[in-house]
Subunit: 100 residues, 2 copies
């Protein structure tokens, strides 16, 4: 067994942090498009059915990958709250273009 | 401009969700090694200096990638809390091997 080197492990963590940030930024670019679509179609930004399906799916994915499902759901909760708030802003700016 | 297709966008989101779950699972495998190292060396699981450096770095990375820094910090908070709790469990099981 090779010796554990704290510096090496922290470097691995930093690389992984950069990766999840990049992926979540990409995810927000996609959900922004969803927000524009929903706003132009007059669809409610909040979709409890889709949301609960996403929560179930993320918990299952976490379980499969050995990540604590409650942590994954907690993170998805923060993400969805930010997405809904962004969608509400998009809808508001479309209905009141002068305020944008 | 091509027409927005909600199904396509949601499929992209699902792929990205799978990616961040995989990355965070990998991150926990690395921090678990850090926990074992710290426990065997008698190093405190909580490292406020490292933590505040990580928070600053994640906020900067988020900013650079167009992700809300507060959201990134909120997610990192959940991750660090789970990591610290895992490190405390590792330390406890090493000092009381009969309870493991």
């Amino acid at each position: 067994m090779s010796e554990i080197n704290l510096g090496d492990l922290r470097q691995q963590i930093d690389v992984l942090d950069e990766k999840w940030i990049t992926i979540l930024a990409e995810r927000f670019r996609v959900t922004h498009e969803v927000g524009v679509y929903k706003a132009t179609q007059g669809i409610d930004p909040i979709d409890p059915q889709r949301e609960s399906a996403q929560m179930e799916k993320i918990a299952m994915l976490a379980e499969e990958n050995g990540l604590a499902p409650d942590l994954a759901k907690g993170i998805l909760r923060l993400i969805i709250d930010a997405v809904v708030s962004n969608h509400q802003e998009i809808a508001a700016s479309l209905s009141n273009p002068d305020n944008s």
